[in-house]
């Protein structure tokens, strides 16, 4: 096979993959020492009020099927090993969304003896969603921001979700897709 057609082939497949990924990102949720607050808010995004599945986002049990790691909580020593293992099991390209103050900075638990600190010390983070805990809207907005940056091109940049999440973002997004 000539290198030109090979190049063409990988380009097409890459574009196709990117298109599929943006349309339906599968996420895995991992808790590395959070208080549960962020976790129930993530779970709440699945339920009828917020219902992220209408945007194609699916919460997935196994890291091997996931594109996005939604991580909550400060990293405890015991969970550190598991967090890295889950991250490494995910297929490339993978993205990490840090949800909640603890995952961003260690939060109130910064300085506790069993806590390493923020998530960025352990794995590279792409999107930061602040709040204690962030509202479900903010979490969805974080995912949408990640997808938009993917649409624009594959440049990896850090995204910080503002504390003021714009209103009606969900309606805009769902209308755009239909």
């Amino acid at each position: 096979m000539s290198s030109v057609s090979e190049n063409f082939y990988t380009q097409v497949v890459g574009k196709l993959k990117n298109w599929a990924r943006i349309n339906s990102p599968w996420a895995i949720h991992f808790n590395s020492g959070s208080c549960n607050g962020c976790d129930i808010e993530i779970l709440a995004t699945l339920t009828p009020r917020y219902d992220v599945e209408r945007l194609g986002i699916k919460l997935q049990g196994s890291p091997r099927h996931a594109d996005v790691l939604i991580a909550t909580g400060p990293v405890t020593l015991q969970a550190l090993d598991r967090l890295i293992r889950v991250y490494e099991q995910m297929p490339d390209p993978k993205f990490v969304i840090a949800v909640g103050s603890c995952a961003l900075s260690g939060g109130v638990f910064d300085g506790c003896y069993n806590v390493i600190g923020d998530l960025n010390k352990v794995i590279p983070v792409d999107v930061y969603v602040p709040g204690c805990p962030p509202r479900p809207e903010a979490i969805i907005y974080g995912v949408v921001q990640l997808l938009e940056s993917l649409k624009k091109g594959q440049k990896r940049e850090k995204i910080v979700v503002p504390m003021e999440v714009p209103d009606l973002i969900l309606e805009e997004e769902s209308n755009g897709n239909e």
Binding site: T76, L77, Q78, L80, D81, G111, Y113, N114, I116, V122
Partner: protein
């Protein structure tokens, strides 16, 4: 029964072993016993169905040197809280750092194992004959002989070394 009556009945059960006692709140009774009598005291409460074991609280009393240079050696105190409706009886045992041995009560109260494991890990009690000595809350990589809830444990130095080891792997 009224709370005061419950406390009276509990006190009556424990009378033989009391070394000193205190009533910090109106619904509480604190009783200090020696390590040798401790188990019989617990047995007396359990056999007479006086309440249930709420939890075991550990406490570190670090060594104190007074102005006359008399050093009071460091001690550990274990508090066994028993609750019966609103009344709480606390059986307290003090043991020195050098010999922090207390008899297990798991044969009398099976649910105590979880509290005993916690006390062993976080304070370094030596609970004789306790059925399960596996780690309960601390991470697998935690160094032996470091007890985080003792006052002498300061956060950072111990932690940094273990963190480095882990991230280097």
């Amino acid at each position: 029964m009224e709370t005061s009556e419950l406390l009276e009945s509990g006190k009556f059960l424990l009378e033989k072993w009391v070394e000193s006692e205190n009533t910090p709140e109106e619904n509480r009774l604190d009783i200090w016993v020696s390590t040798t009598n401790f188990k019989s005291a617990v047995q007396s409460l359990v056999e007479n169905h006086w309440g249930y074991l709420v939890t075991i609280t550990g406490m570190d009393i670090p060594p104190v040197t007074d102005p006359d240079d008399n050093t009071q050696p460091g001690q550990l105190e274990a508090m066994y809280h028993f609750a019966n409706e609103a009344a709480i009886i606390t059986i307290r045992v003090k043991v020195p750092y050098s010999c922090p041995q207390i008899e297990t009560i798991c044969d009398l109260i099976p649910s105590a194992t979880i509290y005993e494991r916690e006390a062993m890990e976080l304070f370094g009690f030596d609970l004789l004959n306790t059925p399960n000595t596996e780690k309960l809350v601390l991470p697998d990589s935690w160094p032996e002989g470091v007890y985080p809830l003792r006052k002498s444990f300061t956060n950072l130095q111990d932690l940094e070394s273990t963190t480095k080891e882990q991230t280097n792997d």
